[in-house]
């Protein structure tokens, strides 16, 4: 099965390490809470995607395989957003 080269695996590793350092750095910068939450979630999702796409080889899988993995997450993600938003809304009432 043709997958990425060892060199590209090491490049992804370097990027993941850099993004982890960035995550920790962002926490110590003391930016506003809302900005911090957005930045950290954005960085975490990017890193998780990189692991799935490159290391778990979703990149070289077929469209059907990608859809089989991705589609089941749609509704749970929606529920999560609604439930957490509802809890936060009640908190600020």
């Amino acid at each position: 099965m043709a997958h990425a080269s060892k060199k590209s695996y090491l490049a992804i590793f370097g990027l993941l390490a850099l993004l982890t350092a960035l995550e920790v750095g962002v926490v110590y910068t003391g930016v506003a809470r809302k900005l911090l939450i957005s930045a950290l979630i954005g960085l975490a999702v990017t890193k998780a995607f990189m692991v799935g796409w490159f290391f778990m080889h979703l990149k070289s899988d077929t469209k059907t395989m990608k859809a089989t993995v991705a589609i089941p997450f749609f509704f749970p993600a929606l529920y999560a957003f609604v439930l957490i938003a509802e809890a936060a809304w009640r908190h600020f009432q």
Partner: protein
């Protein structure tokens, strides 16, 4: 039963030209083996377990008036709860990323039929997993300084403590399972009983453990 309905119940011709009754995945899945599709199905269902736990954490935290309890504050009669150590856990995160790259290099070596390198990288991945578990033990119970349990973060005492222990220990259980799975594959590879597909399957599980930790690190430690 009509002839056309009866025809639908007969065994379909093997689209891949293999005999022996072996059922292969549909063409839409390309070269993916049954094992790979099954592993992905398991990982998706396992992700829902983590999703459920993180969702409970999100709801409890976003609705909580106080998350870290301080002695005497709002009638809290216990010792002030410790904050989680970000720097140490960032080190554990880096360790898991390192083990993920050794895992993918083990797979690359297996594709090249290089058994010696496959074993080397599998061994390094196992070492990374054990070091992570040792780090988690230190975080909970302490090796060179008191762990969280001795500093006042007690399971069942607060939502902060309970969600922390439940989520991180559930992940730790996955790391332990992963290292055991890797060990079995390491021994089978040494005996020449594996191929690149076996390495790819254990790799999928191990990368999943890393992927989940990336999210746990952000939600539980950094936010």
């Amino acid at each position: 039963m009509s002839a056309s309905v009866a025809a639908q119940h007969e065994d379909p011709p093997d689209p891949h030209g293999h005999g022996g009754g072996k059922v292969l995945p549909a063409d839409e899945y390309g070269k993916a083996t049954n094992g790979k599709i099954a592993m992905w199905m398991f990982l998706v269902s396992d992700a829902f377990s983590f999703g459920g736990l993180l969702l409970a954490y999100g709801i409890l935290r976003s609705g909580a008036h106080t998350w870290h309890h301080k002695f005497g504050e709002l009638g809290w009669k216990y010792a002030t709860e410790p904050k989680l150590g970000i720097n140490f856990t960032a080190g554990l995160t880096f360790l898991l990323i390192c083990s993920s790259v050794t895992m993918v290099l083990a797979y690359a070596a297996a594709v090249e039929k290089n058994r010696k390198q496959t074993l080397l990288f599998l061994g390094l991945t196992i070492l990374g997993g054990w070091m992570f578990l040792a780090g988690q033990y230190h975080e909970y119970w302490g090796i060179w300084h008191p762990g969280l349990t001795k500093e006042g973060l007690i399971l069942g005492r607060s939502a902060y403590a309970s969600t922390f222990y439940v989520v991180t220990s559930f992940h730790g259980l996955h790391v332990f399972t992963g290292t055991m799975y890797l060990l079995v594959i390491f021994l089978r590879t040494a005996a020449g009983k594996t191929d690149e597909n076996s390495i790819e399957l254990v790799g999928l599980f191990w990368h999943f453990v890393d992927l989940i930790w990336i999210l746990v690190f952000t939600f539980i430690y950094l936010l």
